[in-house]
């Protein structure tokens, strides 16, 4: 079928092959970025995402990584398309944005890099990626501070601009970026990793489109999205239909509300009835709230099938501008991720009550953003740890919850080995263990969180954390017991202790121990129904004491 006459070139096999290749290219971009990034938050934690978009900026395929980044890139590219007239976009251009008020969706640390793809002179697609950069300026090291009240305090804003002009790097922009970062080498290295990834992706797409013809290529992309929509609709038809509502109190005493309406062709998430935006940085953009709705829909509808623009078409999101889930410029937004994970968990909890066969009990549900920095006692170099935490997941029908897994917001995310952390950061890691103790019991128990002890070896180091689910515990289902909270304990060398969940720039000194504790997931089902053999196994494994088991599991 060499000839490109009409239908012959659009045969289903060719389209299928192009669609497979779209997936392969997104994965290749991901692999490139992972291997070349400078910051451990990118290469180890994999706080990044890659994607391919069509000429109109609709997401066609996405690389592995974290689910919460899949829906970001289309919003960024659409802002670029609105801002730059088509005729000014040229081969070799690379654009950048990080501002949630300019298509950046998340927070200023996340740089979105996008490249237009051309074949035979036509704009046929975009390649793009997003990654968390270690420091983009702002009032605090790592750019995130719980004290921020305006986005201006959270770093350098890049309002959807051209970074590379037809292959020529705009040195002025690079100079401004370097000058505004506390870690310019990291920033530059990570940015080039991102550029390498979009370039490799663009090269592959051009080859594909040239080989099969632009029209066939575009038909394949369009068909892939239609396929995504079909997959969603086919599952949507099988879900319980109706309107479900939930109010939930938060750690800070505020109450969040969600109404979800499911019908055979729509998934409506109504977040209008929520508090006004926060003066602090725990707000999210509307786009951020959209991502939460997208993730929950995808979790319900064939989670293993491709996710693209079509997948999310049945979503309708209702928000109120000026609310915590639809912040108005210039609201601070640095800790948006804790707000997003709350929305995600809120929708999950709202629906789980009505479909416990499909969704398990609540998990520790925090990103667990943890920032530790100071001077490495052996090398004298500045170091900064930026990492999320792992914790316990809820029990579900037929299975205990997973222990020590990143939150539902993460995916192909890796924790940092103690051996590497000790060498790189000069901390002493005293233990890395499962967190045992009461909580999360049920017919199917919640999985365990963890305990990590970071021994500080140098005076004048700092800790910043932003954990939610510290006071309000992971929720249970069907008479299970609720899980336990997330927090950090500072064991000072003078013997005193402090507990924190949200704090910026806390000074820690030589001999202090930062103990991170993450929660056990919620239990599922009445503990009295738990298989005795499983109870005995838990006791033997030291996950629960014999006395506590006696108390909980005998009716």
């Amino acid at each position: 079928m060499n000839d490109s006459t009409g239908q012959a070139s659009h045969d289903p096999i060719t389209l299928e092959i192009i669609q497979n290749s779209l997936q392969a290219v997104a994965d290749e971009m991901f692999a490139t970025m992972r291997k070349t990034a400078m910051s451990s938050i990118i290469y180890e934690v994999l706080d990044m995402g890659t994607g391919i978009l069509d000429a109109r900026g609709r997401i066609a395929s996405s690389g592995a990584g974290i689910p919460s980044f899949v829906g970001v890139l289309d919003k960024a590219v659409q802002v670029l398309l609105a801002k730059f007239p088509q005729e000014t976009i040229r081969p070799g251009d690379v654009f950048i944005t990080n501002d949630p008020y300019y298509g950046g969706v998340t927070h200023l640390n996340d740089l979105v890099v996008a490249m237009p793809v051309f074949a035979e002179g036509c704009l046929i697609a975009w390649t793009a990626n997003i990654a968390h950069n270690s420091d983009v300026g702002g009032m605090a090291p790592g750019s995130l501070s719980v004290q921020a009240t305006e986005i201006f305090q959270e770093g350098l804003r890049l309002p959807a601009i051209r970074l590379i002009d037809a292959g020529e790097a705009n040195e002025s922009v690079f100079a401004i970026l370097r000058c505004n970062s506390r870690m310019p080498n990291f920033l530059e290295g990570d940015l080039w990793a991102a550029i390498a990834a979009v370039r490799i992706g663009a090269r592959r797409l051009t080859e594909l489109a040239t080989k099969y013809g632009i029209e066939t290529f575009e038909t394949a992309m369009e068909g892939f999205m239609t396929f995504g929509e079909k997959v969603t609709l086919s599952t949507l038809a099988t879900l319980p239909h109706g309107t479900f509502e939930l109010d939930e109190e938060q750690d800070d005493g505020r109450v969040y509300n969600v109404k979800v309406t499911i019908s055979p062709n729509e998934f409506v998430v109504d977040l209008r009835n929520n508090p006004d935006q926060d003066v602090g940085p725990t707000n999210t953009s509307r786009d951020g709230a959209m991502i939460c709705a997208q993730m929950m829909l995808k979790a319900l509808c064939a989670p293993q099938s491709p996710a693209n623009d079509g997948t999310f078409r049945p979503i309708r999101l209702l928000t109120r501008e000026g609310s915590v889930f639809h912040a108005r410029e210039p609201a601070a937004i640095g800790f948006y991720f804790e707000t997003e994970v709350r929305v995600f968990d809120l929708i999950w909890r709202c629906l789980a009550q009505h479909m416990p066969q499909r969704l398990g009990a609540g998990h520790f549900a925090t990103i667990g953003g943890t920032f530790i920095g100071g001077i490495h006692p052996d090398t004298g170099r500045q170091y900064t740890i930026i990492e999320p935490q792992i914790g316990g997941w809820g029990g579900r029908e037929g299975h205990d919850g997973n222990s020590a897994l990143f939150s539902g917001f993460h995916g192909e995310t890796y924790n940092c080995p103690a051996e590497i952390s000790e060498a790189r950061n000069g901390l002493h890691i005293g233990r890395m263990a499962l967190h045992t103790g009461p909580g999360g019991e049920g017919q199917w128990c919640g999985g365990r969180g963890i305990v990590i002890d970071y021994g500080v070896r140098q005076d004048n180091s700092f800790l910043t954390i932003g954990y939610t689910r510290s006071r309000i515990m992971p929720w249970s289902l069907k008479e299970g017991h609720e899980g336990t909270g997330n927090y950090a304990l500072i064991l000072r060398c003078d013997g005193t202790q402090e507990r924190h969940a949200f704090i910026s720039g806390l000074r820690v000194d030589k001999g202090d121990v930062i103990r991170i504790v993450t929660g056990t997931g919620g239990g599922y089902g009445n503990p009295a129904l738990r298989d005795r053999a499983l109870v005995a196994r838990d006791v033997k494994n030291g996950l629960i004491t014999a006395e506590h088991a006696q108390r909980i599991y005998t009716t």
Binding site: P12, N20, A64, A423, L543
Partner: protein
């Protein structure tokens, strides 16, 4: 003495145990090849090996060199048939095995299940004692609790003990002390410590590797000792070597101590064979492709060197995090596409091929054993690519009606004809394989046009030309006896050890001497090990690599360095090579400090490998091998009348053109229109492709 050298390889597979024997006449240099096959005999796999030697009519006492490959380790792992293991960790870290890395590859799925650890929590013990990342002791080792741990392990029925302490990659003294004490307290138990297997950092990966090695150790030890005694009883007095995952062979003793190094030995011998073949025919840059019944595997060989890495995982895919095994394994990409892969249509009318396979039973529909699923093999038959009258070398009568029924039913689901669906299956299978080949080449910055595609295994030759055209390679080589190529590769293998050692170091002034000292240390240890295995020190060859990165990066780029001590000026050369390699792979370079994370040393010694004799070139006229003509459907390249050649009658120097098919009892070679084929002095087929015709 004997005027012949007899070299035998045996390979234990899932269904059959295969034997290949090369009998080399010293006077003529000619090798006579003999093959045999018998049933695999679980759980006493050694019996099958002894059986196949007998069946081949070979006297064990006449064998000079016996190389053995086995899936016993990978089977014990995947079937969960290993020993009950107890783990001893550093205090505060016994849960590392269960915490793992916390990742969830199936990232939209909220019902993901994390792979459970191989050792339950109550069998994970801890001992006080700490080493720093520099290898200095910060807390002394305290073994006071060890006797009670051993008692508990005994009471629980533990059969093997794994020991893994923090930072033991840089200082193994605590692990050595504990293993010595365990051997004293409980001499019968299997015990292995992490430093015996790997000297690289990352405590989860190292702990899991040690645990899995302990898990397979009793099974493997028993198997290897029975095999050795069975052979000895039959009068075998030659050298027995075991195939390893790093493309080398190793002694039985060495393999028994850390059997986990055999984990991926199956594909390794074929890739080594491709590297050896490339050197023999002057094609040092090779894309090697092995297509079997269930999977296709590929690996890139640059400059005659296979790439060996320690980033190997089992059971890892898009839906599971799997388990890491940090041992030297040939760098390969494997996909679920082979001759038996089932083609299917999903609920949204999309056609897929694999990863499910029809296996040996019922097999492809055309086997006529009740299989109703269309497979890649059925499509190849339907399109005339495989000879329906000479199916499986004439040993199976092709049930074309069953194949047609299966294909027709599949086509009906998406509204296309039987022939179109057969073409579709081939194109999708080829596309899957092309993507795998791109992963090992383009994805790492290598241009496939600079490589020769060497294809083997049962299905390699059937798809190689189409894949080669897609990738733009100029030449495809199908080795003589492509179906027993892995056995040939095993026979060409060296005794080989790969040492990976983590050592963080700035690539600044003075690094040369520190690097030299480190290599000298490792080379001394390697030499000692070889000498213990009766290999003379002067026959050992070393290849040195350093693993470099820009300061603060994670992933490293491996750069070869000279085998002799580094002079002062060498640092600049190494850095230049690093920047160049890095830029090729990632499109940019940085003006940033470079650091070394570790080194990789290859130590090898030839152990009586086969010396192939090249035959003189004869007539170019291939008509003597022509056995007929038939219609062959080349999918995108259309329908053509192809010349059919008998592979057994092709001889050195013959030339012919596509469209053609070459058949022998084990292989079908599909040659497209426009290709030019020549036969070299070893019987390999060189297929020159015409570029630019791929679409």
């Amino acid at each position: 003495m004997s005027r012949k050298t007899i070299r035998v390889t045996t390979d234990v597979g899932g269904t059959f145990t295969d034997l290949v024997c090369f009998e080399t006449d010293h006077a003529t240099g000619e090798s006579h090849v003999l093959t045999a096959k018998s049933d695999t005999t679980p759980p006493n796999f050694e019996q099958g090996v002894l059986n196949v030697i007998e069946k081949a009519g070979i006297m064990a006492s006449t064998i000079d060199f016996l190389a053995h490959g086995t899936t016993v380790v990978i089977n014990a792992l995947t079937e969960r048939k290993g020993a009950k293991v107890g783990l001893i960790s550093t205090e505060g870290f016994r849960d590392i095995l269960e915490i793992a890395r916390g990742n969830r590859p199936d990232f939209f799925n909220l019902n993901y299940r994390k792979p459970p650890p191989f050792v339950p929590r109550h069998l994970r013990a801890e001992l006080p004692g700490r080493l720093s990342y520099k290898g200095e002791e910060s807390t002394p080792l305290d073994m006071a609790a060890l006797p009670s741990i051993i008692d508990m392990f005994r009471a629980e029925g533990v059969q093997a003990i794994a020991v893994c302490f923090l930072h033991s990659y840089t200082n193994s003294s605590h692990e050595q002390a504990v293993t010595a004490e365990i051997r004293r307290l409980w001499p019968e138990v299997s015990v292995v410590a992490s430093h015996q297997i790997t000297r690289e950092w990352r405590e989860y990966e190292r702990t899991n590797t040690t645990v899995l090695s302990a898990y397979v150790q009793p099974v493997a030890e028993r198997y290897l000792s029975r095999l050795r005694s069975g052979l000895t009883d039959r009068g075998f007095s030659g050298n027995l070597f075991i195939m390893q995952s790093n493309c080398g062979v190793d002694s039985v003793d060495s393999t028994s101590a850390t059997p986990i190094t055999m984990v991926e030995s199956g594909p390794a011998s074929g890739f080594w064979g491709a590297a050896e073949l490339g050197r023999m025919i002057g094609e040092p840059n090779v894309l090697a492709l092995d297509i079997g019944g269930t999977t296709a595997k590929c690996s890139l060989i640059e400059n005659g060197q296979v790439r060996i890495m320690t980033d190997y995982w089992i059971e890892r895919d898009r839906t599971s995090a799997g388990y890491p095994i940090m041992v030297p394994v040939v760098d390969l990409v494997e996909i679920g596409n082979g001759g038996g892969s089932i083609a299917w249509v999903d609920e949204f009318a999309k056609l897929h091929v694999g990863p499910k396979s029809a296996g040996a039973s019922p097999g492809p529909a055309a086997y006529g054993r009740g299989g109703t699923d269309a497979t890649t093999t059925d499509a190849n038959l339907w399109l005339g690519r495989i000879n329906r009258d000479y199916f499986c070398g004439g040993s199976v009568k092709a049930d074309m009606e069953a194949a047609e029924r299966a294909l027709e039913a599949l086509g009906a689901k998406i509204g296309i004809s039987t022939t179109d669906v057969a073409r579709g299956i081939i194109r999708i299978a080829n596309n899957n394989m092309t993507n795998a080949l791109k992963l090992i080449s383009l994805n790492r910055g290598f241009d496939p046009r600079d490589f020769t595609l060497v294809a083997f295994g049962g299905g390699g030759a059937m798809h190689a030309v189409a894949l080669g055209m897609e990738l733009g390679v100029r030449k495809v080589v199908i080795p003589a006896s492509a179906s027993v190529f892995s056995a040939w590769g095993m026979m060409m293998s060296d005794l080989r050890h790969d040492y990976f050692v983590t050592r963080l170091m700035d690539m600044a002034e003075g690094a040369e001497s520190a690097i030299g000292t480190l290599f000298a240390e490792i080379e001394a240890a390697a030499t000692e090990r070889f000498v213990q295995e009766s290999v003379p020190a002067e026959s050992i060859r070393f290849i040195r690599y350093v693993k470099l990165r820009y300061q603060n990066q994670e992933h490293t780029t491996e750069v070869p360095i000279p085998a002799e001590d580094l002079a002062a000026g060498h640092l600049a050369d190494i850095l230049a090579a690093f920047h160049q390699t890095y830029e090729r792979e990632y499109t940019y370079r940085l003006d940033a400090p470079v650091e070394m994370v570790g080194v990789h040393l290859v130590a090898s010694a030839a152990v009586g490998k086969l010396n192939m004799k090249e035959r003189p070139s004869g007539t170019p006229d291939a008509n003597g091998a022509l056995k007929g003509r038939r219609q062959v459907d080349y999918a995108q390249d259309g329908l053509h009348e192809a010349a059919i050649y008998n592979g057994d009658r092709l001889a050195s120097g013959m030339r012919f053109h596509g469209p053609a098919i070459v058949e022998d009892s084990g292989t079908t070679i599909v040659i497209h229109p426009g290709n030019t084929v020549s036969v070299d002095g070893y019987g390999n087929l060189h297929i020159l492709l015409v570029s630019g015709e791929a679409a």
